[in-house]
């Protein structure tokens, strides 16, 4: 597979240099792999930190800014960052009001953030953690590392960021972030595998005419391989899986997320089927986002995330946000 890179070893630092040059409103520490709001720490504000392997851009570095994350720690491609990064990020955004860690539920992320929280607490920083585990494709949770964190990460980061920006205390920011996660479910599908720079070839073989249902965002195969399906059939399978598990409630936030290699034209078409089916099942859609938000390098495919949103969540969702990857209201 061909890539627009120099050498695999410098992919992450090169991207960080590019991010720094394009976004003077961010402080990018290429050496230590940190992306931080330039005005951090914001006085009396809870710091919101996330991080994870690279390859999911704009997640997480692209969501640093007013109304969302205060800092992000990008790891190597598909490899969670190390505790030193997270501890540094935590110290950089700590104003005294404590720091929330938003952690996608993968063994590596969980373990490294755990060690980081210990380091930060040694420095006297009050840290809370919220785990994102929204992927319903992973069903059998007593026999797995638990559900993966995927699309809902965007919702959690946006809502927690808005609440922190509004001056809420750490416990409330953490509780609301957890609520967002609990109200969110996702399901993903891959039409092709992705290619990591280090491996240089697709992470799995997907013959023409087949797709993977229930994939994550790290190029791992899904739960099931099937013959090629139409967009409408895929939307049906995804929504069946999601709605079976989604807590009941009011209207939803809808994210129709591209995995990176699927054209926006197809994503919007896919989204039309998702919306139609939701209509048939009497699920109201309060807000919709269609695009590449939580990606898996060049993988072709998409995921759907629904979040039951009450008035408060909608208000926080609509609050101004100013980041490279998500921006409105300012």
């Amino acid at each position: 597979m061909k890539m627009l890179i120099n050498v695999p070893e410098t992919v992450v630092s090169d991207a960080l240099r590019g991010l720094a040059a394009a976004h003077p409103e961010l402080t990018v520490d290429v050496q230590n792999r940190l992306v931080v709001r330039r005005d951090a720490p914001v006085a009396d504000k809870v710091g919101v930190v996330s991080g994870g392997g690279s390859g999911h851009e704009p997640l997480h570095g692209g969501y640093v800014g007013m109304g969302m994350l205060d800092a992000a720690c990008p790891g190597e491609v598909f490899t969670s960052p190390v505790p030193d990064q997270m501890a540094r990020a935590t110290a950089a955004v700590h104003s005294g009001a404590g720091v929330l860690h938003i952690v996608k539920n993968y063994t590596g992320d969980v373990l490294n953030f755990k060690l980081a929280a210990e380091l930060a607490e040694d420095e006297g920083i009050d840290v809370r953690q919220v785990l994102v585990d929204d992927d319903v494709a992973v069903t059998d949770s007593t026999h797995t590392a638990g559900r993966r964190g995927t699309g809902a990460t965007l919702f959690v980061e946006k809502v927690a960021g808005a609440l922190a920006e509004a001056g809420a205390p750490l416990d409330r920011v953490a509780a609301t972030a957890r609520k967002v996660n609990e109200c969110s479910r996702s399901f993903g599908v891959a039409l092709s595998a992705c290619t990591t720079p280090a491996k240089g070839s697709p992470t799995f073989d997907l013959p023409p005419g087949e797709l993977e249902l229930g994939v994550g965002i790290h190029g791992e195969p899904g739960r099931e391989r099937r013959g090629m399906m139409t967009a409408q059939e895929i939307a049906d399978v995804a929504l069946d899986a999601i709605l079976e598990d989604l807590p009941p409630g009011g209207p939803v936030l809808l994210l129709v997320n591209g995995m990176g290699g699927t054209p926006l034209l197809e994503l919007y078409g896919f989204s039309s089927h998702v919306q139609r089916i939701l209509g048939q099942r009497h699920v109201g859609v309060a807000r919709t986002l269609v695009g590449n938000y939580v990606t898996s390098l060049d993988m072709a495919g998409a995921s759907v995330t629904l979040c039951r949103a009450d008035e408060e969540l909608l208000r926080l969702w609509d609050a101004p946000v100013r980041t490279p990857g998500l921006r409105w209201g300012c």
Binding site: G53, G75, E76, V77, F78, T79, S80, P81, V82, P83, D84, Y106, T107, G108, L111, N112, K114, L115, A137, V138, D140, H143, T144, A145, R148, T196, A198, K199, T203, F204, G216, H218, G219, E220, P221, R223
Partner: protein, 214 residues
Amino acid sequence: MEAVLDAAFFRRWLTRVTAVVEREATALTELDSAIGDADHGSNMRRGFDAASAAVDSEPPDTPGGVLTAVGRQLISKVGGASGPLYGTALRRAGRALGGEPRVSAEQLRDALGAAVDGVRDLGGAAVGDKTMLDALVPAVEAYGAALERGADLAGALDAAAAAARDGAEATIGLRARKGRASYLGERSVGHQDPGATSTSLLVAALADTAREAS
């Protein structure tokens, strides 16, 4: 002549492991590609390169010091699941060896036991979950049993290496319950666990280091 378990021994082990990991990185990534995210080889290489560089630039003078330094480097350079797990394992082993300039084969057994406990405490996996523990636990048990039977260090480590290799191979038949591979459910069966495989390389390097010295 029986190998002496001093700082130099563990530095030779580290050099050997670094070379082995370099050589096997692609194979480890290939295994991780089948049931994970195709990075275990590069993770291990990044970690052991950093550990070698750190230990070379400031060589600790005790076995415990070497293992602790390696563990610290793995934690702060690798990331992923394997970084904190191997890092914690080696730090715990290093701590168990204390500040002595030389340790006995029995002390090494206890240190290996501490490493197992470290992995278990942090990762929460058990034997049979298709993780590095499926190579590490049988290796430590075989080592202890061999010492009981009166084997010398090299002999006991040979037994450990064989058990680790068998354990790693036996993960092929297992269904993963921890780590990324667990997402695959039944589809994880039929593939060898990358972490168990790298563990068997680390243990084999211990045995080779001992044999070379004796």
